[in-house]
Symmetry: C2
Subunit: 146 residues, 2 copies
DNA sequence: TGACATTGGTCAGAGTCTCTGACTACTTTG
DNA sequence: CAAAGTAGTCAGAGACTCTGACCAATGTCA
């Protein structure tokens, strides 16, 4: 369990992922969205346009529903999300993104687009396309929610 | 900050990364290496063959040196690493992997190789090569330590 | 229909991870 | 040598995550 000279594919995937996440998080903070944490963001990211149940958020983020509940509480207090009753199941409530969340998403999307442009510039159009293609294909066997 | 239908490259990178990490961690636990946490593993991974300074571990893992020190303490107690004085600087100590860490690394490497085989099978030899090529190239602009 | 298992969610408590700030000891620089 | 920088630790606090126990609503099926 000690580093070796050659990098495995896992590290290779992680490095650009982290670089992107750092850029997005920094831009968000610059834009005034500095009142949520990375952990909260990872949950917020997974809220669908029509709201998403807590349990589903927990599964997709691979955390327990207790943890998800804890994080959603903070997001609710900070005004990023609201909880509304699920009309189809009286046990459940839907976590919905508030206006503040959508505003933050616009900033985040812009940065992601910018970084993707930079990557494409470095890799070239062809290789960038191949990268996305391979990753999309890989999703079939690595994403339990594909 | 709410999910949309199309996946950005960040998520695309993260999904296989997480899948791989989960597999490795599960295999390690199966093999009896269940006395360290993911956070500790992320530090341990970065120890070089001749030992690495705490500060350098912290930088590469993008955590503070205090946090790194905390995690190395746990790893030391569990017998995965030792701290030896750095002969070139009396302020510093080198964190070195112990036998137990090398044994764990063997297990981890085997699983990584297995997963990479599975991915290659799914993508085809050509696309897998393109994927690694693109990621390696991307490292130039996303890895501060490249 | 009515017992029983399942599912969505919460409460309580504990352990782990991470940070900021302040500090000591050693090294480098001029 | 004095000043500045670097390696690491200590102390304290906040954030994240888990396990276990629990309640309420839903689904299953004899």
């Amino acid at each position: 369990m000690v580093a070796e000279s050659e990098l495995n594919t896992g590290v290779l995937l992680f490095l650009p992922y982290r670089a992107l996440e750092n850029r997005v998080f920094a831009a968000l903070a610059d834009a005034g969205f500095d009142d949520f944490t990375p952990a909260q963001a990872r949950v917020m990211q997974r809220i669908g346009p029509d709201g998403t149940r807590l349990t589903e958020l927990a599964e997709q983020a691979q955390i327990t529903k207790q943890t998800a509940g804890f994080l959603v509480d903070q997001l609710e207090k900070a005004g990023y999300v609201t909880r509304v009753p699920d009309p189809t199941d009286r046990r459940a409530r839907l976590v919905c993104g508030a206006a503040k969340a959508h505003a933050a998403k616009e900033v985040a999307d812009a940065v992601v687009a910018e970084v993707e442009r930079e990557w494409e510039e470095h890799l070239g159009k062809r290789r960038m396309k191949q990268l996305r293609e391979a990753l999309t294909l890989l999703r079939e066997i690595t994403d339990p929610w594909a």
